[in-house]
Symmetry: C2
């Protein structure tokens, strides 16, 4: 099945990335400022972008190594059944984040948009940790003038 | 076969994007400043990053609609046999660029790196056209501290 993959190296410990992926405070600093519900396996995280947005269920947590979410709910439609994972791997003075948004039913313009947009948000994660300030929604980098 | 896809909307005409994808001057403003050989179908474009880098053969040109390249030469190894395409689609006041780097033999950390890096360079293309200045190599955004 089609998948989106990305990889960024962040000058920090795996634990700093893990915290940014598993807490409301951490997630709100790089994806969307309106994030609630992060927690243990089974938690439903609600990511909101101007009122609406996706829910993800925390499916697997391996501290400082792996975070895996299963999409939950009905929107956006093409995300139903998809999964998101973040694998963390320390190498020298940086931690690599290998990202995957997998199990798409088909490729599409929307999937291509999401691929670029995930890159934007992973760069926001890198900036949030390395520079103390990311670019989460609503201050995110736009890639479409209709956004 | 695995592929990388992206999509960005640029506030310009399809012709402005087409020129940025089919001329040495245009390509040097967003991917690498050291670009030579762009031209008609059959041309070999040499993209150099500090002395080394990939060659691509221009495989198909549909003015203001499509640019397709076939990888040429031996480096980087995982790119052998791959293709890159840019589909242009005008929608309102912007032109969407749908990018694909296809025919990878397998997914890998390197492919994930390239996926994120292509997003960085497509944002550079967008900035070059909309703001008059992109971030081509050697002024590109780094996503790995070993770059």
């Amino acid at each position: 099945m089609p998948e989106i993959i990305h990889r960024v190296g962040i000058a920090c410990s795996p634990n700093e990335v893990y915290n940014a992926l598993t807490t409301d405070k951490g997630l709100s600093q790089w994806w969307t400022t309106d994030t609630t519900g992060a927690g243990a396996v089974g938690s439903i995280i609600q990511f909101r972008f101007g009122g609406s947005g996706p829910d993800f269920e925390v499916a697997e947590l391996q501290p400082d190594l792996l975070v895996r979410w299963k999409h939950s709910g009905e929107m956006p439609g093409p995300w139903i059944g998809t999964e998101v994972s973040f694998q963390l791997n320390k190498a020298g003075s940086q931690t690599f984040v290998k990202f995957a948004h997998s199990r798409w039913k088909e490729t599409s313009d929307f999937m291509a948009h999401c691929s670029t947009k995930w890159a934007v948000f992973l760069l926001s994660l890198k900036e949030a940790i390395e520079q103390g300030e990311g670019r989460p929604y609503p201050n995110d980098v736009h890639i479409d003038h209709d956004e």
